[in-house]
């Protein structure tokens, strides 16, 4: 059974007399219990697609079934079955943590008794115990984010949509949040559909990645496969000796895709597998009597994957930084009123 199934979703916005197609035909399938990462440069149609899937925006054309309910004809039923956590959350700084959660539960028609128990359980589950009576504004970034997620989980949805769940969090909080997201799937079988800018996040969390660009899905695979196909590890070597001789030596190694001398006399080696390759490089150079002064291994970043896939970086934004408001994609923000 497919839990999210979208066929030919499109969305156009009117900008004055012009029509801008933000999403040009998205087909996607997600299986129950999957953690899927949805990636794309700014303006690629990522947020628009997410907002369509979560009933916030009506598709111009196309169909979708979310958790068995039709997006167009039964949006209210879809809302009952999904949880959505927006990029910048959705809490009032002066509201109290448990009040926000309790209200959210009541809006899903959970009775007052069960709602109270559900709030207590969620506070414990997301390490927010003891913070119930605090104003939201007094929480740390990580706590606030966990509250946002708790709000999306109040009604135990079958699917939860997370928009940039760890953007702006410190490394410790990010790891902690990943743990919670994993547990959500492992313990409750919740399907997770998330957008992210970070490859390490997609790597750590996602079973599968969907890449969107210019309003269409352009790649769809496991993170490992995507990286293998679309980007490689790059090793920069500072050789104590003739870099050109070193280059000739290394170019013949089986794991080396490419070796080049940079303008500053360093050596740049592109490797299929950085961890294995780094050992081969050192031993080969040592065997030839060439010393190594310094080594630096650069893992492929999502930017690299994107550069290969879309010809632009993931965070390329010709219009400058986007403003911190719920609809961040330039086109939508201006025209989707």
């Amino acid at each position: 059974m497919t839990i999210i199934e979208a066929n030919g979703l499109t969305r156009t916005f009117r900008a004055g007399r012009q029509t801008v197609a933000a999403v040009r035909g998205v087909d996607l399938r997600v299986q129950p219990g999957e953690i899927v990462g949805f990636l794309g440069p700014n303006g690629a149609g990522k947020t628009t697609t997410l907002r369509m899937l979560t009933t916030l925006l009506q598709p111009t054309s196309g169909t979708a079934r979310i958790a068995g309910a039709d997006l167009r004809t039964a949006p209210r039923e879809v809302r009952r079955r999904i949880g959505y956590v927006a990029q910048y959350g959705g809490t009032d700084p002066s509201a109290l943590v448990d009040e926000e959660l309790f209200l959210q539960a009541r809006l899903y028609r959970i009775g007052t008794g069960p709602a109270g128990r559900r709030v207590a359980a969620l506070l414990a589950q997301l390490d927010l115990g003891g913070l119930g009576s605090r104003p939201v504004g007094s929480l740390s970034g990580g706590q606030r984010r966990r509250l946002d997620i708790a709000l999306g989980l109040v009604h135990e949805p079958q699917i939860v949509f997370l928009d940039e769940p760890t953007a702006g969090l410190d490394p410790h909080s990010r790891n902690n949040l990943w743990e919670h997201i994993r547990r959500l799937r492992d313990e409750n079988g919740t399907t997770v559909f998330l957008t992210t800018h970070y490859l390490d996040e997609a790597d750590a969390l996602c079973d599968r990645i969907l890449v969107i660009d210019h309003g269409r899905i352009v790649a769809e695979d496991t993170p490992a496969n995507l990286k293998r196909q679309l980007a490689a590890d790059v090793l920069t070597v500072d050789v104590a000796g003739d870099p050109d001789a070193a280059r000739r030596l290394l170019a013949g190694l089986p794991g080396v895709r490419q070796a080049a001398v940079t303008g500053t006399g360093g050596l740049q080696v592109t490797l299929a597998d950085g961890e294995q390759g780094i050992i081969d490089v050192i031993t080969t150079l040592a065997g030839a009597g060439l010393g190594v002064r310094a080594l630096q291994l650069a893992r492929p970043s999502l930017d690299d994957v994107f550069l290969t896939l879309t010809g632009r970086g993931l965070r390329d934004d010709p219009n400058g930084p986007t403003s911190p408001i719920p609809t961040t994609e330039g086109v939508e923000h201006v025209h989707a009123r």
Binding site: R79, G89, D92, R106, P326
Partner: protein, 253 residues
């Protein structure tokens, strides 16, 4: 039924947040008192120069302040709506099965209740200062001013979600409300106005609201003036609620 529960839930949320803000409560209480104490004596003595007895002066002034409170209290609800839209609260609520209409009505209900509390306070403070008024008349006037608040708050919410910018909302409200307020005769009764100004004022809705409420305070509850006032207030409320609902139902609002 389900919608009523939703309205109540949304109302409770806003009421709780407001009640926890001391500044909000202080402003809410001090506003009506300031109007009475700082401007009331000036107004009544000005009226007494023209031969209006003190009792009649208070019956003229207090309904005017009620309308003014309603106008400024509810018209600026939109600022809160923009803040909520920006913080993502509105979007978060829109992804729940809550009725969109309840999101609007629950929101503005808080302001209608606030106005009622302010109005009762205003009248209570005005009595020792010299206000004497017909009880049914005061009740009828309260009903009218609550309808007015409901309507204006809905309009403000609709406008806020359309412009989505405080910088646009503020000047728009001021530009729209200031002439309406001046022409309504809130400051001084329009009977003092030159004929042309009086005529212009008769083209604006608040003029009738203020006139009707004044005559109600004087005891003419079942007069035609009061009836047309009630109908105008009802019309404003119905149209504004419909407009607000339309805005809230729109997909990306």
């Amino acid at each position: 039924m389900s919608m009523l529960v939703d309205i109540l839930l949304v109302f409770q949320r806003h009421a709780r947040i407001s009640l926890r803000s001391p500044i909000w409560i202080i402003i809410g209480i001090s506003q009506p008192v300031a109007f009475l104490v700082l401007y009331g004596p000036l107004m009544t003595s000005t009226l007494s120069i023209t031969g209006v007895p003190a009792e009649r002066a208070w019956q003229t002034y207090v309904p005017g302040v009620l309308v003014q409170l309603s106008l400024f209290g509810s018209a600026f609800v939109g600022f809160g709506v923009i803040a909520e839209w920006r913080s993502g609260v509105i979007e978060r609520l829109r992804v729940t099965p809550v009725s969109r209409v309840a999101l609007l009505l629950g929101r503005v209900l808080r302001d209608v209740v606030l106005l009622l509390v302010q109005a009762v306070l205003l009248i209570a403070v005005a009595i020792p200062l010299g206000l004497r008024a017909s009880v049914p008349g005061v009740l009828a006037a309260l009903g009218v001013v609550m309808l007015l608040s409901l309507g204006l708050a809905c309009l403000s919410c609709a406008l806020a979600l359309t412009v989505k910018s405080e910088d646009t909302l503020g000047p728009t409200l001021n530009t729209g409300l200031m002439p309406l307020l001046l022409l309504s005769g809130v400051m001084l009764p329009m009977s003092f106005a030159p004929r042309w100004l009086d005529l212009v004022s008769r083209l604006t809705p608040f003029r009738y609201i203020v006139d009707g409420m004044r005559s109600a305070f004087q005891g003419d509850v079942l007069s035609t003036t009061m009836l047309s006032t009630a109908l105008i207030a009802l019309g404003i409320a119905v149209l504004s609620v419909l407009l607000g609902v339309r805005t809230y139902l729109r997909q990306s609002a």
